[in-house]
Every structure is written in structure tokens, then in C-alpha cells.
Symmetry: C2
Subunit: 432 residues, 2 copies
Amino acid sequence: MIHVGVVGFGTVGTGTVRILLDSKELLKERVGIDINLKRVADVDVRRDRGIKLPKGVLTSDADALISDPDISIVVELIGGTTVARELVLRAIRNGKHVVTANKALLATHGAEIFGAAEKANVGVGFEASVAGGIPIIKVIREGLVANRIKAIYGIINGTTNYILTKMTEERREFDEVLAEAQRLGYAEANPAYDIDGTDSAHKLAILASLSYGARFSIGDVYREGISWISPMDIEFARELGYKLKLLAITKEIDGKVELRVHPTMIPEGNLISKVDGVFNAVYVEGDAVGATLYYGRGAGDMPTGSAVVSDIVDIAKGIVLGAGKGLFMPAVSRKAGSRMKMDDVLTMYYFRFSAIDKPGVLSKISGILGKHNISIASVIQKGRRIGRAVPLVVLTHQARERDVVTAVKEINRLSNVAGKTVFIRVEDRESA
Amino acid sequence: MIHVGVVGFGTVGTGTVRILLDSKELLKERVGIDINLKRVADVDVRRDRGIKLPKGVLTSDADALISDPDISIVVELIGGTTVARELVLRAIRNGKHVVTANKALLATHGAEIFGAAEKANVGVGFEASVAGGIPIIKVIREGLVANRIKAIYGIINGTTNYILTKMTEERREFDEVLAEAQRLGYAEANPAYDIDGTDSAHKLAILASLSYGARFSIGDVYREGISWISPMDIEFARELGYKLKLLAITKEIDGKVELRVHPTMIPEGNLISKVDGVFNAVYVEGDAVGATLYYGRGAGDMPTGSAVVSDIVDIAKGIVLGAGKGLFMPAVSRKAGSRMKMDDVLTMYYFRFSAIDKPGVLSKISGILGKHNISIASVIQKGRRIGRAVPLVVLTHQARERDVVTAVKEINRLSNVAGKTVFIRVEDRESA
């Protein structure tokens, strides 16, 4: 029998506990191991979670749990990067295997945690840290083990995908949709980490570390949020055949790894652009398999609990089989990754200039773009209002981020340009 | 060092060999194991496959390979159910772990093979047998281990999906598109097993066995092919908001498992209905994760080779860790599955009647449907040609297959019905 202790009895904790209780027999039948939930620790031991725990299981004493000699797997579901870090490190030092759903923790202190786990010869499972119910960690690490990963495009934050979907389908403003999402429980009271791309960036650091066998952390990821997106740009995207999504992107190019999270226009025919609402999806391109895509719920008590329990089962199998080091490969290599600077990124761009409708403005703008090696693929100019500002939309071929930033600064200073230029990156891969 | 022998140097064999040679270092870095391709056996040792094998690796003697004491993993890629069965059973008896891409073999002789493997305490990897590059076996068996599988809908035959996609997009006839697919290499010279649903049925038997922990074989699967599909029905489907796909479906309802492969209309808004061309996708609904979907190439040398190598790596890890029985769980339980008879299946239906355009015909038809508990959801009647046969399309609510078959027989005997009634099953789940 393998004893498990869960610390943190919130949303994911509740899902995890429910599965461990309800599916005990099923798991035993499937993998031949008795997995026993011995303790659940939470500061709040009174609140009714709608689950009847066996007597003596619930405790407020997390310390006792992680030093219980019976318990071999500690599940950390309290979140945050301070108490959680302490707790995980102490559990590892006590020789416990750890399962966590905590992307912020891994993207910030991953090197320390995986280093400690390697030293203690224990496993750290983190399937639940990225894209909830989608077993993307297992897919990349095991299913696609024979592949060099060419690129990953992820919709890995349900809140922002819900907001962008609503803005797209109902042509509404960001603020209004956000308020509605908060009312409906699809966005938190403080949604900053979702909205500004931080949550996606945490997850991307984990995916890139796995895919490229090198250590990347949150500081390596370029981030842009969605709060500045206007329905006008979503509408222009549609006219151009694109859909706007908050994508987490990583690619390896000549030994350098791109890591970036930003609103991105993608061809509306691609499968990933059909991923709407709170759903997540991760597109993974391997050199052998080519295009693949994985779709499911990115959050929620039961989907995330399902991922936590799959890690518990994997570790339990390892324990029973007497497997040591190696089964519990550190996900993050000791070698630091080589990141491509955002300035060096090469991609396509959408520009929306606020151009004063006077002869010569397009020629001025295109002159500056040309000077900075930015070549125009198409132009849309909507509505004529002589002498007043109108949107002028330009789609480019591949250009360098550094050149784009410089050109935009120069264009914004033109007397014929009335406001700040909006630019959004465009990914135009054929498949998925 | 783990030595591997590959039997069958055709398409998948070539992909597998290429990955084992080109990614030897990558695999060693990722999992810490030296995986060595010791022998490749094929009856044809002369043909140039574009790969330079080290001297002494290629042999025509498969027997020597499977009795080589150095080799611990035998990869069977010869296909078919006679020689392959012999070879796999002998390899197992020799204490070799086996990796195979052979769905026909497993769906026909799975019980025998998994039984022998269990007795010999060796593993049988078969990731490559279903949906090539999509790691669907691993996803179901490990990633979703904490889930009761509610339903699986798979597009798991690239040839038929290519043909239906072309028929849909270009409004062309089956025969014409099939001939083109054969010219382009998307359909084999003898495409019978693809076209008639047998290939999908083999794969479905494997997926259902995994999902429901019980043994199902090809004989348990109801099959209908696509050769009788007419562009007219695809067009009516479109009008009704559906897309036509050859789906492999398995669900568990009250302890009985449905297993069926047939042309199916699915809502065009669902993600799986966007899966076009030779691509495969498997929708899996678990009780904890809810809707998930996995998408990628279902065939080809490199995608399938990627799956074969992922199995080799998993087994190599098990060998290195000294893991015995348990890691190599038999996929197929010893207990035989309980299949739901096709007659008892409950689903929605699309009917196209060839009705003589005379007053009263709809009332006669709907009378017969009603008598058999088939309730009409909507009706389309196109074009009036008094006294001549016109298509009358009816969409039903949920009905029982047995009742439908009986009603159709009765309706076909009506003097006002000119030809055989076409009926196509409709799956109308909300998600994915």
C-alpha cells in the first residue's frame, strides 16, 4: 500500500481527494496498487467541501503530514511560491516524492526543487501544472521522446481564452467581458496574472524546459497581456483571415530558444484557432511526428485532479517496482537554456496605424518600414475622412522584432500619425 | 546498453531505423540509456531505403534475430496475422519484449499474445498500432488513468478521412476520389480494409480493450464502410449543420460497451469535425477530465516510427530499472468484455427516403416511424416533381437501431417509396 498526503484542500485539492476516494478500486484494478489517502492538511478544517473524509484524515498540521513516515507521496496544492517552496523542499529532504500543480513555483524555483529531488533520489510530478486535464507533460516527455521539438504553440490560460472568445464572438470590449467573466467565475477577483500573460509564461517556461532539455524560468519569457486588445483589431484580423489568441510560443532556432507569450493572429483555418472558451490546447510539432495537437480543459477541480492522480500513480508504480533514479528524471536539466532575445525574433506583423487621411501618409509609413527591412504583404484602409485619423492596417512578411520596434517609434513621431501604433505578431504556419 | 532488433524493413521499419540511428545521442541524453539497433531483418536485403545501415546489421534471417541473446527488444513491423503472430509468439517465448505496430494482429490474436507475454513476464508495446504519431495509448492508459472513460470518438483511418474530406470540399463522387487517392499514394492498391471500416475496427478494439479493462476483438465491432456514401448526403448533412466522418465509437452504458465504426454525422462546430485530410484525431471523454482531443498524423514512416521508438524507450527504461511484471501491464484484461449488441444501440438518425412526390407520402413514412418509436426532429423536402421520386430527408431524435432497421424495411416496401432508404447515424454531443 502506498500512502499519500495532500496539502491544500481548495479547488484542486477537492478534486484530487474526490478521485482518490471514489476511484481507489478502479486504480487498484488498473495498476495493481493500493493507493491510500492517509492525510489531508489545510488551515481551514471546518469548511464543507461536499466530501466525507474518513475520520482522522483531515488535519491542520501540514508539518506532521510531511514527516509522517508512512506517507511516501506528498501532494502540494496550496499554491504560491513562499510557503509552498518551503514545504516542497522539506518534503523532499524527508525523502518524500512530491506531486504539485504549482506552475509559479516550478517556473521560479524549478532549478532548486529539481536539484533537491535529484539529490534525495525522489520524484517530482507536475502534470497538473500545465493545461490541467491535458496530459501534455507526459506526451512531450514520453510520447514524443523520439522527437526534436520544432515548435510549441499553446493556448494555456482559460481565462484569457474565454475573454478573447467572447470579444470575438460578440464584438465586445475587454473591460466589459472581463467583468462578466469575473461574475461567472471564469476570472478571479484579481485576474492580473492571467490577463498580463504571467500564468501562461509560467507554464511556457515548464514546457520549454522539458522540450529543450535545458533550464528556463519565468524571467526568460517575453510577456504581453490582452488588456489593450480592441475589438477593432479582432475585426481586422477576421477580415484578413486570422483569429486572435493569447499564444504561448516556444521554438528552437539555431540552438536558441524563443519563449514568448503575446496576443497572436493565427490563420482561422488552423485547428488551434477553433479552440474557444475556457478550453486549452497545445500544438506540438516534432521532427518525426510533424503536427500534433492536444485539447482539453485547462483548469477545474476534476480535470486538474485527474492530472495530479496520474502523477501519483506513476510515482506509486515506480515505488512498487523499486525503481530508483532515472524513472524520476528531473524535468529541468542542470544546464541553463540559451534563450533568443525578443529583439532577435523573426515573425510576421499586423500594424494598425492611426493615420491622418491626407495624401502621402501611406508613402511616408511604408518608406520607414522599408528602411527597417520590413516588407509589406497587404494593406487595408477603411473609410475616408479627409484630414482626420483613420485606421490604416498593414500586414508584413517576416521581420525582425528589433526593426519593428524601431520603425514604430519613428512612425509614431510622424505628424500625419495621430496615435500610438498597434502591432500584433502573426504566426502563419500551414498546419494545425 | 539495450539491444534492439527490427523485423520488417518497409515504411514503418525505415522510419523506426532512421530515428534509432539519428536520435541515438538525443535519446541517451533524455533517458540516460544507450539504445543500440543491433539487427534489422527483411526478406529483401537489396532494396535501397535511403539509409546507410552499419555493416552486419541487415539480415534476411529473422529467426537468428529473435534468438540473439543480446537482443532484449524485438520490433515486429511485417504486418499481417500469420507470420507476424508466429514471430511475436516465438520472440515472447524467447524472453524478448516486443514492440509492434500491428493492429490486425492485436485485434485478432490479442488475448493469445498478451497472455503469452504475461506468462513470460515481458512487455508488449503497441503505441504505433493506433493513430500513428498520436500517443493515444499512453494517454488513455497512463495520462487518463484516474478516469472512467465515458466515450471515445476516433477518426483513426487517414485514407477514408482523406476521401471524405475531398468528397465534402469538392462535392465529388466516391469512386473518382478513391482513384485519385490511389494515384497520390493516400490509398493502397487494395484499399478494402480501409474503405470498409476494418482498419478502424481493429484500432477501436484495441482502444476499447484499454479503456474498459476487458478484452474486445475485431469480431465485437460493428462495421460499415464509406463506399456507398453519396455527395448528396454530405450536402444534406451540411444543410443540417453536420459534417460526415467515418467515426470509430466506443462508449460504456450500464456495463455494456458499444463498439461501432460507421459513417457518422457530427455537428460542424465540434473540433473533431475540423479534422481533415489524412490526419487522425481521437476524442476521449473521461469522467474527471471531461472532453479531450488528440490530433496528429495517423500513418507514415516517421510518425509511426516515433511511436515505435517511444515504446522501445519505455521498455528500455523498465529493463534498466529492473522492473518486472506490472510495468508491462497486459493491455488486455483476461476478462472478456461485455459488448452491447448493435440492435440495442441508441442514437440519432438521418434518413434519406426516395419518396414519390404525391400527397400523403410523408404521413405514411412518419406513421411507420412513429409506430416504431422513432420520433422526428426535422424534415427537409427539396424540389417538387409531382409523381416522381425526390429525396425526403428526416432527422430523428434518439432511436433504437433495431427499430430503425425494422422501420426502414417496412418503408422500403411502400409503393410510394422508389429506392432503398439511406440511413446514417448522427452523434450530437455538445463538446469537441
